[in-house]
């Protein structure tokens, strides 16, 4: 089977993020980048499904500047087979990304597309749903593992997604209020993954060396005939409000009164 996964190049959450003085975006100089952590979980799941269903192939796709090849390479170093970079330097909104992915998926014809449920840079959580809509495919979002991440299943690196025996559908458990909901979707389908689906592997040195020789194909929005002019306009970027100083209250009664009257939490 063929599995396509997406990897977005995002700001490393351990970098110090500052807003530009003109509030149009963040300061990008001196910021470190990494693969979106949700996407690493998608790649891990794809690798586990591949290894349990040989022969199979895992393709890693990214949309972004030339530097995003680094994040594709990190997916290849985890064990994916080849990469595709849709190269575009300017900002692409989620709709643009979804339309690009639609074209790539139509070309590649994978059986399953695995995506992070959202990217940790802007937290939109829409690209996966849009791709499914544009393709007219089924979708299962926020896939989690039924078992815990400390379970024997996870230790044995078992996939959290359950492929049916005839490989025509896949079951995904998703966290909902008060429990887990299990969905079954017909393949081909889009599955977006949540944090508790698996623990992604570390790229080992032998696999890093192998990744160097794996191909990364470059495409462009023009080549795919997709207009990526943003439909979403960023009006203003603001840092979260600075934490204000706390206060000391003399007794429990005052605390309860303030929580009720001022904070309105009880």
């Amino acid at each position: 089977m063929k599995i396509l996964t997406t990897v977005k190049r995002v700001e490393d959450y351990e970098s110090k993020i500052k807003v530009r003085p003109d509030q149009t975006w963040i300061v990008t100089e001196g910021v470190n980048y990494r693969a979106n952590p949700f996407d690493e979980i998608a790649v891990e799941e794809a690798l586990r499904l591949r290894d349990a269903n040989m022969p199979s192939e895992v393709v890693v796709v990214s949309v972004g500047p030339a530097a995003a090849a680094t994040e594709i390479r990190s997916g290849l170093a985890m064990g994916a087979d080849r990469g595709i970079l849709v190269k575009h330097d300017a900002f692409v909104d989620s709709d643009g990304v979804a339309r690009l992915l639609q074209k790539v998926i139509e070309q590649e014809k994978p059986d399953l597309v695995l995506m992070g449920k959202q990217a940790v840079d802007v937290d939109d959580n829409v690209a996966g749903q849009l791709v499914a809509e544009y393709l007219g495919w089924g979708q299962a979002t926020f896939a989690s593992k039924k078992e815990s991440l400390e379970s024997p299943e996870e230790k044995a690196k078992k996939p959290g997604l359950k492929l049916s025996a005839d490989k025509k559908s896949v079951q995904a458990a998703r966290e909902v209020d008060g429990g887990l909901e299990v969905l079954e979707v017909q393949l081909p389908a889009i599955v977006t993954v949540d944090l508790r689906l698996n623990v992604p592997r570390y790229a080992s040195l032998p696999n890093i060396m192998k990744a160097k020789k794996k191909p990364i194909q470059e495409l462009t929005p023009q080549g795919l005939s997709v207009d990526v002019t943003p439909k979403v306009k960023v009006l203003k970027v603001e840092p979260p409000p600075a934490r204000t100083a706390g206060i000391k209250v003399p007794d429990v009664a005052t605390l309860v009164q303030k929580l009720h009257a001022e904070a309105k939490v009880i």
């Binding site: 001196g30 790229a203 160097k212």
Partner: protein, 590 residues
């Protein structure tokens, strides 16, 4: 903010802006590598360090290994950690592909090891010891020895140790007594009998087997170091496709002040007369073979010293930035809010001193690692000169991080104040860990004798001249240049005089102050590293304004080292030549 263990910006600065990791890829041996592979490898190493090793550090320190029913049980976290270290490639990353390695430059492997050591030095040591043991087997073992021991070690099924020390023979390896009797069963096999102590990782329960690379004496061998042979002694020996008990018993676990995640064992070989050892390399030349592993191990110990100081430096830096206490000296109005302690000049003094030690030591180890790469794979015509430099710098690379690192670790405790003295905070644990680094793999005293008695006088001063040429290549400021030149001349003159005393037969007069000499020499070498880093920082300031704070910090630390440390060279040199107080003091005077 979580402790980063090492700053990623610092690592990339040292690798790519100071020590030319990128240039190494132009050598044929490293042609398969590039910045991309280095960065992916470092990213994996730092993730494993931060996510897997560091969270296990405190629990492993709190629950040291126990001896139960003749076997050692280590902390269960090692069962999770060990496969990660092996997968990452820590048992053979720098070895060629013919023997299953990836030919990673030692320079890059050193930094990856730095993250891991800073996260959990004890856990990392198992992999370092195994890599060293496998390398010895690969380099000197017969076909049979390699086939039996190499693959199981690099694949992580078996671990390796170095078993040198005996109860009466620590620094003095010439006195090793473990005996080896040739077996009729086959050439190269011997029956071993003897006792070893302080064997790190000498027993554990997370691999199927353990291979001790042990020193012993074949019956009838000459006395002294020329009669010592090297053996591979497995805990279980392969026999007819099975592993059977090889009569290596754990006699006890030492209770240590630090490094409590890895046991230090007393081992008995051949209590029942059934302990088989395979000779590795040429009989009677075992110590020479072992020195290959020891030189690598010395740099690894140096890296652990830097790493242990680095983790504590970052811990105290975060504490100083977030702990409000007191007010500016000029504004003591109690109604004003307290300020974070980093605002106090004395706290910044302690932070800058730690930074100067940690980053100066790191840079020296990077220098040594790059030399090791070039000695092996660089242009033929430069190899001899670089070998000489590496030999000269190795005792400094081993001892400076241990000695100055202990001072640095102590400052991290100091910055935490009363809390720093409690077990609630980590700096006390790192201070305990650091102490070992001036003792194992050759004490500071042994390193100083190696430097002054052997390395610096080798080739009639050629090594020192090669070092002077390296100094001249740095784009230093006039002030730095003058400081380095004066210190180097002082050391050269002192070396000359001490060497003459030695030639005249006055060994005490030459070597009694060897540790002070090592101290002076270390300050000179680290000043050189700071001049290199300051030059790179000045270039960086021109090019990359977004990193201006980083580069200004570099230049400030270089200034600190030149102002506070370099002047000590002159005093120390005078002491080496003039002070005979303890040489003349009699034991009964104390």
């Amino acid at each position: 903010m979580a402790n980063p263990l090492f700053s990623d910006r610092e690592v990339s600065f040292q690798l790519y802006e100071v020590h030319g990791a990128g240039d190494l890829c132009q050598l044929p041996a490293f042609a398969d590598h590039g910045r991309e592979t280095f960065d992916l490898f470092l990213a994996s190493a730092r993730k494993i360090a931060r996510d897997v090793l560091f969270p296990a550090y405190r629990p492993m320190d709190a629950e040291p290994p126990r001896l139960e029913g003749g076997r050692v049980r280590v902390h269960p976290a090692m069962k999770e950690i060990w496969p990660r270290l092996v997968e990452l490639g820590m048992t053979n990353a720098t070895r060629p592909s013919e023997v299953g390695g990836q030919e990673l430059p030692v320079l890059v492997a050193m930094f990856a090891g730095g993250y891991l050591s800073a996260a959990n030095g004890a856990a990392t040591a198992y992999a370092g010891l195994t890599a060293g043991a496998a390398h010895l087997v690969e380099a000197f073992g017969s076909e049979e020895v390699r086939r039996t021991f190499h693959e199981p070690m690099i694949s992580g099924r078996w671990s390796g140790t170095m078993a040198l020390t005996e109860p009466h023979a620590g620094s003095s390896l010439a006195d090793v007594r473990t005996t080896a009797t040739p077996m009729p069963a086959g050439p190269g096999r011997y029956l071993l009998r003897g006792n070893k102590v302080f064997i790190s990782g000498g027993d554990q329960d997370f691999t199927e087997n353990i291979v001790h690379l042990a020193l012993g004496r074949i019956e009838g061998a000459p006395a002294g170091i020329k009669g010592i042979s090297l053996f591979a002694v497995p805990r279980l020996r392969p026999e007819d496709g099975r592993l059977v008990d090889n009569d290596c018993s754990s006699a006890g676990v030492f209770h240590k002040m630090g490094w409590r995640g890895i046991p230090s064992i007393a081992l008995n070989f051949g209590e029942r007369g059934d302990c088989v050892g395979w000779v590795v390399g040429t009989p009677h030349q075992g110590l020479g073979h072992m020195f290959q592993m020891m030189n690598e191990a010395r740099l690894m110990v140096g890296m652990n010293g830097v790493a242990t100081a680095s983790a504590a430096y970052h811990e105290s830096l975060e504490y100083a930035r977030t702990r409000p206490q007191g007010r500016p000296l000029a504004a003591r109005d109690p109604r004003t809010p307290q300020i974070p302690i980093v605002e106090h000049a004395d706290v910044r003094r302690m932070l800058l001193k730690q930074k100067a030690i940690v980053e100066g030591g790191l840079s020296l180890l990077a220098e040594c690692a790059r030399l090791a790469d070039l000695v092996r794979h660089g242009p033929e015509e430069d190899r001899e000169r670089r070998r000489m430099l590496l030999d000269l710098l190795t005792p400094v690379g081993k001892s400076f991080p241990a000695e100055a690192g202990f001072v640095s670790n102590s400052l991290a405790v100091q910055i935490h104040g009363g809390y720093g003295y409690t077990a609630e905070y980590l700096p006390e644990a790192w201070l305990r860990d650091q102490k070992l680094n001036s003792i194992h793999e050759g004490t500071t005293g042994i390193q100083s004798l190696d430097l002054l008695g052997r390395k610096v006088v080798a080739g009639g001063g050629d090594a020192l001249r090669a070092l002077a040429a390296e100094f001249a290549a740095v784009e230093a400021t006039n002030e730095e240049r003058a400081g380095l030149r004066a210190a180097l001349e002082k050391i050269a003159a002192t070396t000359m005089e001490l060497a003459q005393r030695g030639l005249a037969g006055d060994r005490d007069g030459m070597l009694a102050h060897s540790v002070d000499y090592l101290d002076a020499f270390s300050v000179l070498v680290i000043s050189w590293q700071w001049a290199k880093m300051a030059a790179a920082a000045r270039r960086g300031l021109e090019r990359d304004r977004a990193s201006a704070d980083f580069y200004r910090g570099k230049i400030a630390a270089a200034r600190w080292f030149f102002a506070n440390e370099l002047p000590r060279v002159s005093t120390l040199c005078d002491i080496c030549l003039t002070d005979a107080s303890f040489v003349e003091a009699r034991p009964e005077w104390f």
